[in-house]
């Protein structure tokens, strides 16, 4: 159908369906690929993966050291997978004095197999444009009012390594089981948009 930039553009759902139809017609794509891929993505690439790594790092100092030194190997040992182009997982440690926050200003890269699919706000133009330049202001607007003494470190995901924040453990949770601790860990805390607090078990 002829068109130019001023004509009516077909809605994205129609264009996506067209792409699937044409690819199938070519015999390029197996019948079950979309279903199988979507199921794998939704069942395996979940926030719980990163949360389990964080909780174990809180209770096991040698695991924590290994996670900070070589997150990729540790994640693979726990059975988590990476797409071909995620070649390294770099884990950034939050402390009382340091707060790390992750962004991808050029697109929206994340360690999605480890922390789950990126939330909408992470992909929004507002976050990508502003968090590198107005980190403290943006985090405050998002509900994280960091004391002036806390140093903010922003990490822009421009290469083929993926970052994950190791949140600081809430002091009130020392002594909790690894399983209970994992339930505390949110996706936002592993991006650096929030810090964790103890909630009643």
């Amino acid at each position: 159908m002829p068109h130019d930039q001023h004509s009516f553009v077909a809605p994205p759902e129609q264009r996506a369906a067209a792409l699937e139809i044409v690819l199938r017609r070519k015999g390029e794509m197996p019948e079950t690929f979309v279903h199988d891929f979507t199921e794998h993505a939704e069942e395996k690439w979940i926030t719980d993966n990163g949360a389990r790594m964080v909780a174990r790092a809180w209770v096991d100092p040698s695991f924590r050291r290994r996670l900070l030194a070589d997150g990729t190997t540790v994640a693979k040992e726990m059975g988590f997978d990476f797409p071909e182009h995620h070649r390294q997982l770099v884990v950034l440690e939050n402390t009382a004095a340091v707060h790390n926050a992750i962004v991808c200003t050029l697109c929206s890269c994340t360690a999605y197999t480890i922390i789950g699919a990126a939330p909408e706000w992470y992909k929004d133009l507002e976050y990508r444009a502003r968090v590198v330049r107005e980190s403290r202001t943006v985090l405050r607007e998002m509900g994280l009012d960091l004391p002036a003494s806390v140093e903010i470190r922003v990490w822009d995901t421009t290469a083929d390594h993926r970052y994950m924040v190791l949140p600081a453990q809430p002091p009130a949770t020392v002594g909790w089981s690894e399983e209970d601790l994992a339930k505390l860990v949110t996706q936002d805390s592993m991006i650096g948009a929030s810090r964790l607090q103890a909630i009643a078990r």
Partner: protein
């Protein structure tokens, strides 16, 4: 290229919509799967995919939801690679099917050099017409190497379907006030920078 995608430090944007509203569009997982299929099948690589998004008309880019940008890139690359024909797609829809703009030749990596943690480096003052992964806010700026990565395909070649050398990146630490003097919050900014984009400075 200095495209619309290069958003870091751009001013005028409002508050981040946080937390995100519930979001359930069935075509989005479909696009994610189609994109994954093409990538897994090595019809194109990740840098070609990113560059196809960057080649979208700026007005389209800025208005399109995240997965519409992916959809446009996948369709563009499948047509450019000869897997499907543009007319086949257009005949399936009522209305226009926008594609990304044309692709240029790309470029080669810089002559080999090495960097170590602690090196003071300057990001080269380069203006590249094709794909690269240097956000504009660090162009010409000075920082310190705090990490060295494994070797990755050099994006400026890989993004153009050209045989790409494997090259490490440095995680370079900048002070926000050196990037945007007098108009930023104080922070340390880190960017993964390919070695070809860097020059080493004498230590002070």
């Amino acid at each position: 290229m200095d495209g619309m995608h290069d958003l870091g430090g751009k001013q005028g944007f409002g508050r981040v919509a946080y937390p995100s509203r519930p979001h359930d569009e069935t075509w989005e997982p479909l696009v994610r799967a189609l994109s994954a299929f093409a990538l897994k099948s090595h019809i194109y690589n990740m840098d070609e995919f990113r560059h196809a998004i960057e080649r979208m008309a700026p007005r389209h880019y800025i208005n399109a939801p995240y997965y519409e940008r992916h959809l446009t890139a996948v369709a563009t690359l499948l047509v450019e690679k000869g897997v499907i024909a543009r007319e086949e797609l257009e005949s399936q829809v009522n209305g226009g099917f926008p594609f990304a703009g044309p692709i240029g030749p790309g470029r080669k990596a810089a002559p080999p050099q090495t960097f170590e943690i602690g090196d003071r480096v300057r990001v080269r003052n380069e203006y590249v017409p094709g794909h690269h992964r240097m956000p504009g806010y660090i162009r010409g700026k000075v920082g310190v190497v705090v990490g060295i990565s494994p070797r990755y395909p050099f994006p400026d070649s890989a993004g153009h379907g050209v045989q790409a050398p494997m090259e490490p990146t440095c995680d370079v630490r900048f002070r926000s006030r050196n990037l945007w003097p007098d108009s930023c919050d104080d922070a340390l900014n880190h960017v993964g920078v390919f070695w070809s984009y860097l020059e080493k400075l004498e230590s002070t």
